[in-house]
């Protein structure tokens, strides 16, 4: 083999690796293994599981680095689990970085995800020195140890026993030896014990634990919701806002702390009459959240046109109810706040009440709004859709292609919140326009830069540099 042939084959390998990685990252943004409108949950899980195995087997180092890219929590947990389960395949040179990534990922995951991940490792019998050390360190975190032991009692015990974690302090009596048999000096443990006998003690406990005990003591729902107020997390506060208002308590939701998609999902869960009544409040919620997201991402775009899919398929499924529509609504809110001039065009014009009144309805005619968007000559054209255009089939992709030729200055991007299990990627509208999986509206700036990179077909070296920077930023956030 000549030197140039070796070089050519290396380039080819790089190309394949780059495409595989993009495919995998895309899947990890969009797929949660749940049922979608067009695909069932089982197919999604099988397809995603295959991708994970494939990438893990072939590009272990890259696989670990995906943790730093902000893929969804379900996939982060799966990556951590797979890495820990196959620890002996780690090359010695990568060991330190992989350890750092796994540790950091576990600590940044939401607690419930992390606890269930640890429990899952125990269930699957993954027991090696690294897993044990990681579990022990996670569980021993002094600031939240007692809280986790109470709120995730079963998972905590199972993971701790599995990882041979020392049951220091009062953990032993609390988890192993019958908590009823003594008084605790740890305040949370003591409240947990007292809560089983006295209704007044439950209000120091986490909401999920207290809720069951309140039922046991027959506490009236209004009284319980009122008094447990200070213990609610932001998400619980949002979830219970309706119930609290019905009980005559202020909902008191801090909208700026909620991600845009979650607000959108909440808005879409309301009836049209409720949305109409609360338009000002909900619009304010979007503004507050978008403003915070823009501060943290420092994103700014010029003239932006957004084509948003509100066809019937954006209803999602009973597991991901109205998720594609919520994502579209959230992206519209984010881009409106992050651009100099913004125009949002829905597949079916929204009713007079404005975007907040949007419902999943009608067929998917993306071509007409894309043409209308092109007439505004934007710098950035974002299409948010599940990629199934059917009015008529395949036209949207062709219009995008033609548009790309007519307006070479306009950068086009298709964001897809839905993973298509058969093609191992979010369904594309056209090969000429990059299609990326989308999880949160706040990810849009990242995705735009990834798409620009893919469109300019940068080299593997550049990609590695970019990844490296992301990984360092991810690890530097470590506390």
């Amino acid at each position: 083999m000549t030197l140039s042939a070796i070089h050519a084959s290396r380039l080819r390998q790089d190309r394949v690796a780059q495409e595989d990685l993009l495919l995998f990252v895309n899947a990890c943004f969009a797929c949660t293994g749940q049922r979608e409108f067009y695909g069932d949950g089982h197919g999604q899980r099988v397809s995603l599981d295959f991708l994970h195995r494939y990438i893990l087997g072939n590009y272990r180092a890259l696989y670990a680095q995906v943790l730093a890219l902000g893929v969804n929590h379900m996939n982060q947990a799966l990556i951590v689990k797979n890495l820990l389960a196959t620890g002996r395949d780690t090359p010695a040179a990568h060991r330190a970085r992989e350890n750092a990534l796994v540790t950091r990922a576990l600590h940044t995951l939401p607690t419930h995800r992390a606890m269930h991940l640890l429990e899952d490792l125990a269930k699957r019998g993954v027991n090696n020195r690294r897993t044990r050390a990681l579990t022990q360190r996670y569980l021993a975190d002094a600031r939240s140890r007692d809280f986790r032991a109470v709120k995730y009692r079963r998972s905590f015990r199972r993971a701790a026993v599995h990882a041979h974690a020392p049951f220091t302090g009062e953990l032993g009596p609390f988890l192993l030896r019958g908590w009823k048999e003594r008084r605790f000096t740890t305040p949370l443990f003591e409240s947990f014990r007292q809560g089983h006998f006295a209704a007044s003690a439950i209000y120091d406990l986490p909401f999920t634990v207290a809720e069951g005990l309140a039922q046991k003591h027959g506490v009236r729902r209004e009284v319980f919701l009122e008094r447990i107020g200070p213990k609610l997390t932001h998400h619980e506060r949002l979830r219970l806002s309706e119930a609290r208002e019905a009980a005559g308590i202020a909902a008191d939701v801090d909208w700026s702390r909620q991600p845009l998609v979650r607000i959108a999902s909440y808005v879409l869960s309301l009836s049209l009459a409720q949305r109409d009544e609360r338009t000002a409040e909900l619009a304010g919620a979007f503004e507050a959240s978008a403003a915070r997201a823009i501060r943290s991402t420092a994103a700014r775009f010029g003239r932006v046109a957004c084509v948003l899919d509100r066809s019937f398929s954006s209803y999602g499924s009973s597991e991901k109810r109205r998720r594609p529509l919520a994502v579209a609504l959230a992206v519209a809110q984010f881009l409106r706040a992050a651009s100099d001039s913004f125009i949002g065009l829905w597949t079916h014009p929204v009713s007079p009440g404005g975007e907040l009144m949007v419902t999943p309805r009608g067929a998917t005619d993306l071509a007409t709004p894309i043409l209308a968007a092109l007439r505004h000559e934007p710098d950035l054209l974002v299409v948010v859709s599940d990629g199934f255009d059917n009015d008529p089939q395949g036209l949207a992709g062709q219009v995008l292609e033609a548009g790309a030729r007519l307006l070479p200055r306009c950068f086009m991007l298709h964001l897809n919140p839905v993973y298509d299990s058969e093609s191992f990627a979010p369904k594309a509208l056209s090969p000429a326009v990059p299609t990326l999986g989308l999880r949160d509206a706040e990810d849009v700036p990242t995705l735009v830069s990834i798409a620009r990179f893919a469109a300019e077909s940068g080299t593997m070296a550049e990609l590695s540099r970019e990844l490296d920077a992301r990984v360092r930023a991810f690890l530097d956030g470590a506390s």
Binding site: S311, S313, H348, A363, P392, Q393, L395, A402, G403
Partner: protein, 387 residues
């Protein structure tokens, strides 16, 4: 003999949505007057329908599984018709196994401005098909059996398949995205027209969309759904390099839509391109309820159906059933026999049979052996495949 069925005036075919073997084309109507409304009444039971006489007397009955009936409300003066609340009640208590119906089309009392009647969709058309030459030979030629003389074709039966049993149809119907102004669909299985379903008002269509699964289909379509997991691809492309500006692009988009519409029309030729016989079942004043059937030509696709037409010819309701080849052959045979006044020698010529034995064999294979004297049938080489 009437003219060809007009290709649904007042309605516009939208873009097809393809799921597996099924191509479902929405039919759109921009403004529905609302003076004819259609609702569903669920039975989910075997139905015995008395076609003549009173329920307690002996007489002619039609027996089939009848999942639902349609209630049709209409007004004469163009005012909004209302269905009333009563028809939407579910079945109370135990589901009935057999339900007795009186007539295919039965008037309902209504105390408000709308006149209402109940009909059994598709069974109306099917009953018409089964009743073709039902009385049997007019002249008792010597070959015909006693049963043929006494009871005609009775009992006459055909088989069909529930929509839910067509492989993949359930998913296709569930995933279909209903348009805002949609009043109907054309359903194709592997690009063969399976059924046309049209109602008058978009809101009614939205409610009746899932009832497609309860309709019945010919066994031909059942086979097609199994044999062709994917519909043939049909596409019309825009050449991105040839597009000069955005207006040109808009024109090209219109062309693509028109291409799809033409393709749909092409596929539906088997129904709309052929002459049909219509028979008025009920005159409703401003509307007429008809059933129709084509010339039964074994080389062509044949659809039977029922429709409600406005005075100006607008289709306010339509439902069709595609006959399988065996069914068409049976109808063709009966038609030719009747044309020859049931004289087997003349029928032999009309049907192009080489010998009388061949004709007898054809009659027996079509399932009408019971019309012939047993000794004629006994010696025939019966082909079990042909039924």
């Amino acid at each position: 003999m009437s003219a060809a069925l007009t290709a649904l005036p007042g309605l516009r075919a939208g873009s097809p949505q393809v799921m597996g073997a099924f191509r479902i084309v929405p039919l759109l109507r921009e403004s529905a007057p609302g003076d004819l409304r259609i609702g569903k009444e669920a039975y989910d039971a075997y139905g015995v329908v008395r076609l003549d006489g009173l329920p307690e007397e002996p007489g002619l009955s039609y027996v089939s599984y009848v999942p639902h009936g349609l209630v049709i409300a209409h007004t004469q003066d163009g005012a909004e018709a209302t269905l009333g609340a009563s028809i939407f009640r579910g079945s109370e208590g135990k589901p009935r196994r057999v339900k007795l119906h009186h007539r295919m089309v039965k008037a309902r009392t209504a105390d408000d401005g709308s006149a209402r009647f109940r009909m059994l969709p598709l069974h109306l058309a099917m009953e018409g098909f089964l009743a073709l030459h039902f009385r049997g030979p007019d002249i008792l030629w010597q070959e015909y059996s006693d049963q043929a003389a006494r009871r005609g074709l009775d009992p006459r039966s055909e088989t069909s398949v529930r929509g839910a049993w067509l492989a993949g149809f359930e998913d296709a119907v569930r995933l279909f995205e209903i348009h805002e102004h949609q009043v109907g669909v054309l359903v194709f299985v592997a690009d063969a027209l399976a059924t046309v379903f049209v109602v008058s008002h978009p809101d009614d269509y939205r409610k009746l969309h899932l009832s497609l699964l309860e309709d019945f289909f010919g066994e031909l379509l059942y086979t097609y759904a199994l044999l062709y997991p994917e519909s043939p691809r049909a596409e019309s492309r825009i050449d991105p390099r040839a597009v000069t500006d955005l207006d040109h692009l808009a024109r090209e988009m219109d062309r693509v839509r028109t291409d799809f519409r033409h393709y749909t029309e092409l596929l539906a030729q088997g129904l709309f391109g052929r002459p049909a016989h219509t028979e008025t079942v009920r005159d409703l004043g401003a509307f007429t309820l008809q059933r129709f059937y084509p010339d039964f030509d074994p080389r062509e696709e044949c659809h039977i159906g029922e429709q409600i037409l406005r005075r100006d010819g607008t289709v306010e309701y339509m439902k069709t059933f595609r006959l399988s080849h065996a069914q068409v052959r049976r109808a063709y045979l009966l038609e030719k026999l009747a044309e020859a006044e049931w004289d087997l020698d003349r029928a032999m010529v009309l049907l192009g049979a080489a010998s009388k034995t061949e004709l007898l064999k054809r009659i027996a294979n079509a399932g009408f052996g019971y019309l012939l004297k047993p000794h004629l049938v006994r010696g025939l080489p019966v082909d079990p495949q042909s039924r």
